[in-house]
């Protein structure tokens, strides 16, 4: 099966990435911000896989494998930090998490 042209995949990837950025800027809830980051990582993965297919090299797919590993680690540590912060301050609003801000 021949896939759609490379540009289409790259444009879709750009759209998904922009939506992820919008989510990080707009939302006032750390869990949704973390989910938006996952969305951005997925957009990048899509671009990697598309390039891998259209260049005929497997390296892109292996790099996506590593991106998934890092994303899993990031999600686990991020959620642990969230639980820890929520225990102390009873909030998920990033506005209230500004102890280190000067």
């Amino acid at each position: 099966m021949t896939p759609a042209p490379l540009e289409y995949y790259l444009i879709l990837s750009a759209v998904l990435f922009a939506i992820g950025v919008a989510g990080v800027v707009i939302r006032r809830d750390v869990i949704v911000i973390l989910m938006s980051i996952e969305l951005m990582l997925n957009a990048v993965n899509l671009a990697f896989i598309a390039f891998s297919r259209f260049l005929g090299a497997l390296d892109g797919q292996v790099i996506v494998f590593f991106v998934m590993t890092v994303a899993a680690a990031e999600a686990v540590v991020g959620l642990a930090i969230m639980i820890s912060v929520f225990r102390h301050r009873q909030t998920l609003d990033p506005k209230d998490m500004q102890l280190l801000k000067w």
Partner: protein
């Protein structure tokens, strides 16, 4: 091509739902749907192993983890929507998207993908690449996961 159009529309709609849903659980379900659609997109690009891993790791493990944390913390309030932030964020995202499009249109890329063998992206070829060219990153990734496990346990445990 038709398949790609359907998947593209679905993924954009679901990812917009992730950002716009006010209820966190609805956002999480929309994200799981997006991840499934992207996994099918991977399948159309001759990446079956990565597609299956996407469903297993992302839609399976990470989404379940996020849902568990949502239920554990039980954020009761539905967040307010300051209009200024929404305009600003949408404008920033639109500007970023326009930049991407300008970058893409600057250089014409070769559209037609080369024909690839049937084994492209199969478990055998991925493992071959992973354990020869990428052997060191693979080992570093295992250390990273170990550190993440320890870090998560240390951070989330109750202070005594």
């Amino acid at each position: 091509m038709i398949l790609f159009s359907i998947l593209a529309v679905l993924s954009v709609v679901f990812s917009l739902l992730v950002v716009t849903q006010r209820n966190v659980v609805h956002s999480a379900m929309a994200l799981a749907a997006t991840l499934f659609v992207v996994a099918v997109l991977f399948l159309t690009l001759n990446a079956p192993v990565i597609g299956v891993l996407q469903i297993l790791v992302y839609a399976g493990a990470i989404m379940i983890l996020i849902l568990f944390v949502i239920m554990l913390l039980n954020p009761t309030s539905i967040e307010a929507r300051p209009a200024a932030w929404w305009t600003l964020g949408s404008l920033a995202a639109a500007a970023l998207f326009i930049q991407f499009i300008v970058l893409l249109s600057r250089r014409p890329l070769s559209s037609a993908g080369p024909p690839v063998p049937d084994s492209f992206g199969g478990p055998e070829s991925i493992a071959q690449s992973l354990f020869t060219d990428f052997a060191l990153p693979f080992e570093v990734a295992s250390v990273l996961l170990l550190v993440a496990i320890i870090g998560a346990v240390t951070l989330a445990q109750r202070q005594r």
